[in-house]
Symmetry: C2
Subunit: 216 residues, 2 copies
């Protein structure tokens, strides 16, 4: 994207470079500053979409982690032993390894999205090195997608057991007791599904940008 410093063999009608020297030939410095926003390079909107998607990914990852981490809930539970005492029993995300993996994976995705959003934004300002950048970002996008998708699946699978239980092996449901905890877990998984979809879109966008740069 934004390949303005090499000759692209396409009919470009929107970019008027010959008009600039004709309009004001007496002063040289002002025209590049005032015209800087107007001649949009071809396919620049793809870089803009890339930056926007990475910002959305960051927002989704951070929201997902925060909602998961703040899902603590403590309930008074009656123990099934003879004196039947009522004791406070907390529910935390650290009680399940799947949720710990989920928080780790989404945190990595959030950090990654900051770094790559900055890199993509720099590519928007300085076109030219974006081809190599794109090809490299696809590699890491795909890796992060695999991590985030598997974390979403793991957390979703465990959360489903918490919601429905499993009568075949005697795993009881817990969401009838910990209602707020389960709502936050479900919201967190749903938001990380959004993050997965954003990562899929990022990879598709990168592949589209690369295929658009191939001549013919």
């Amino acid at each position: 994207m934004a390949s303005t410093d090499k000759p692209v063999p396409e009919p470009e009608k929107t970019v008027p470079p010959p008009e600039a020297p004709v309009a004001d030939p007496k002063k040289d410095a002002p025209p590049p500053e005032t015209k800087a926003a107007e001649p949009v390079p071809p396919r620049n909107y793809l870089v803009v979409a890339d930056v926007v998607l990475r910002v959305v990914l960051f927002a989704a990852a951070v929201t997902s982690v925060v909602v998961m981490v703040t899902s603590n809930q403590t309930k008074l539970v009656t123990l099934p032993v003879p004196p039947f005492p009522t004791v406070p029993r907390p529910a935390k995300f650290v009680h399940s390894p799947a949720f710990i993996y989920f928080v780790a994976a989404l945190s990595v995705a959030g950090l990654y999205s900051i770094v790559t959003a900055a890199a993509s934004f720099l590519a928007l300002l300085k076109p030219g090195f974006s081809t190599k950048l794109l090809a490299h970002l696809v590699i890491f996008d795909v890796l992060i997608l695999g991590i985030v998708a598997s974390a979403t699946g793991a957390a979703g699978g465990v959360a489903y057991i918490g919601l429905k239980g499993n009568s075949h092996v005697g795993w009881t449901k817990v969401c009838n007791v910990y209602d707020k905890f389960c709502r936050q877990i479900a919201a967190s998984v749903a938001i990380s599904l959004v993050a997965s979809i954003v990562l899929v879109l990022l990879v598709i966008l990168s592949a589209y940008s690369l295929s658009k740069k191939i001549p013919k």
Copy 2:
């Protein structure tokens, strides 16, 4: 990849097209048949790697599904009710929604890999339309990667509870009873992890192929 019918602005030393008419100018029909295997088009090995990876993906997906589906195991379990009868209790993958999703996702990946391996093999035989094919395959590769990775995560998360249990919510481990069932589930998840890695490699290979075709 394998773009021989359009002028690639690169120094190609290995392809000797001017030698073929010079060597035998008197007969026209035999040379194209005998020389067909020798002048390897540039970057043809990328298509070969693509086909090989898709065949590996097919093998991994089918193996994973077969191992998961044949994991049934029936054990005699003593019920904890007063007469304490010993009854046969089966363990099947259909007892867990996560495993059902896993089988569905890996079956889809297996079918997809057959179709795309055939398409990629055709692209190997008929170079020229492979650019558009590649760009489209990346889209579906990424989607299948998301599905397979999330299925691997879901099945792995549930299998981990079966292996270790969860003392916080009272979910007992089941792998001390159903040993063969658990071994097959673990093997199936491990093989699907291989399938996920193969899909990541396929997307990276496609992005590399696309980036190699960009001039400059």
